[in-house]
């Protein structure tokens, strides 16, 4: 079976790739395009480390067939910094010591971004619920929750 052409936007730039039947968005991002910010953890939809935002919605790139992404707009953690300035969430994760080994961090930041994009002032429970699909094996949830709440506060201060 021939490879299939797929075109989408990744962090604002146009991409056109020929993908294998069965290739996932995660495979294409990491192995063809070289954006390794989404991590390949369980590859079964249970760890959240491959989370990316597709058309404004948090998705698992390991369970997303690349062929279904024709015309989509995809955002990954690698695309968050602008002009060398970190995104407020990235800054907050650093300031709160919310990373240990760092493997879950890009997925956590994507989940947090998806939350703050639709709910700029979340409660602690809403933050917990928003990262419920993202597993941290270094047991660092508390600083991660604090980082997301802190990023939300700094956003609302800068917006005020």
């Amino acid at each position: 079976m021939a490879k299939v052409p797929v075109q989408f936007t990744l962090n604002g730039s146009e991409k056109a790739e020929f993908v294998e039947s069965g290739a996932t968005l995660l495979d294409v991002l990491r192995d063809k395009i070289g954006d390794t910010s989404p991590k390949a953890g369980c590859r079964q939809g249970t760890c959240g480390s491959c989370s990316v935002i597709v058309d404004g919605e948090l998705r698992l790139s390991c369970l997303t067939l690349a062929e279904t992404c024709e015309g989509a707009s995809i955002v990954t953690t690698a695309g968050l910094a602008e002009g060398g300035v970190l995104h407020p969430l990235q800054r907050a994760f650093m300031d709160a010591f919310a990373t240990q080994c760092g493997f879950c961090t890009p997925g956590m930041i994507m989940a947090a971004k998806a939350l703050l994009d639709r709910n700029p002032d979340p409660s602690r429970d809403e933050v917990v619920e928003a990262i419920a699909g993202n597993i941290c094996r270094c047991t660092g949830y508390e600083p991660i929750i604090e980082a997301v709440l802190s990023a939300a506060r700094s956003n609302s201060i800068s917006a005020a």
């Binding site: 079976m1 039947s21 079964q44 249970t46 067939l65 279904t68 989940a111 699909g133």
Partner: protein, 347 residues
């Protein structure tokens, strides 16, 4: 993963024609199917993506009352839809108890109802599994019974049905609008599931919508879904219960009850509903209803704990339903054993 042809039709007729070919699978959210394909448990030769069929993704009122919930409505959209929150908030409660945000953003209504069992034997292509390969045996029979049913298990299969959403839908007498090349038909949701929980739909048929009857809204003020699991989020039910009551003059006018995590199908214990109907609600009545619901339960291996757990979860769900549906489903499920608080009435 086996290579497959990928089709994305824009019209229902094209989709049904494409699905008439053998070894075709419908692709909706893909959260279950893609995982099964990666494991080698599902090996379709063709995928027909439903993303191009826009009318499958809408929730609309029915002329005769009730709602039509499109088969491809995403779980996340169902859980925040204002008409669902008004007429059947128990569906939102069940959906939000399931999976994680990433999954709910993609998983669909019909995909949820048709999801495969999470039995370890089923998910391992090297293990014996009658459900996956008829007559091959059942690897789960030799296990500790943790994934196994306590009601309705068959000789061939002891896996439980994993859906949360199906539990309140079965309780509320939901039906399915099913399309095939020969036309459309409407079936009771309960008949979607065979004795082993597998879909009874012939290959090539497509669920277009879940139909919620007008009577369902009469239960909206007293309907709760309670799920017990090994952690507070992103876990399948050990046991769960949907309890929906219609209360008038201090009596239960009508009761709808279903259990999850205990049987190969979403389990609707008519015996429990009969105990409740017409009675004055008391703790003793709820315990009698739960005893009736579990009277036929039998343990497999070491899962006898599920029988007592299911009794208690049903009593608790009935108690919460009697107090009234909360005005808002919380972001995080509260502990089922915590004080229920004010219990603000719905609507």
């Amino acid at each position: 993963m086996r290579r497959f042809a990928y089709l994305r039709p824009a019209r229902l007729e094209e989709a049904l024609a494409a699905a008439a070919e053998p070894e075709t699978a419908w692709l909706a959210g893909g959260t279950n199917l893609v995982e099964l394909m990666k494991r080698g448990v599902a090996r379709p030769a063709r995928l027909v993506d439903l993303a191009g069929l826009e009318d499958l993704a809408t929730i609309t009122p029915l002329a005769a009352g009730g709602l039509s919930i499109g088969a491809a409505v995403r779980n996340a959209d169902l859980a925040r839809h204002p008409v669902i929150l008004r007429d059947a908030p128990i569906l939102a409660e069940a959906v939000l108890s399931a999976a994680a945000p990433q999954i709910r953003n993609r998983a669909t209504t019909a995909g949820n109802l048709l999801q495969a069992p999470r039995c370890a034997g089923f998910l391992d292509p090297g293990a014996a599994c009658n459900r996956r390969a008829a007559g091959s045996g059942c690897a789960a029979r030799g296990g500790d019974g943790r994934d196994a049913a306590v009601l309705g298990a068959t000789e061939a299969c002891i896996a439980v049905h994993p859906s949360d959403l199906a539990v309140p839908l079965v309780a509320l007498d939901a039906r399915l609008r099913v399309a095939g090349r020969d036309g459309e038909r409407t079936i009771a949701l309960g008949t979607l599931y065979g004795a082993d929980g597998a879909s009874t739909l012939p290959p090539g048929e497509l669920v277009r919508a879940v139909l919620l009857p007008a009577e369902a809204a009469g239960f909206a003020g007293h309907a709760r879904y309670l799920k017990l699991r090994e952690r507070t989020s992103f876990a399948f039910a050990l046991v769960s219960a949907a309890a929906a009551l219609r209360i008038a003059g201090g009596r239960i006018v009508a009761a709808r009850v279903a259990l999850g995590g205990v049987a190969p199908r979403p389990w609707r214990p008519a015996e429990a509903e009969a105990v409740l109907a017409g009675a004055v609600p008391t703790d003793a009545l709820f315990r009698a209803a739960a005893d009736a619901a579990l009277a036929a339960a039998r343990p497999i291996a070491e899962n006898g704990f599920k029988i007592e757990l299911a009794r208690r979860v049903l009593v608790r769900a009935l108690t919460l339903a009697l107090r009234g549906t909360p005005a808002r489903v919380p972001a995080l499920a509260a502990s089922p054993f915590a004080p229920a608080g004010e219990g603000a009435r719905h609507g």
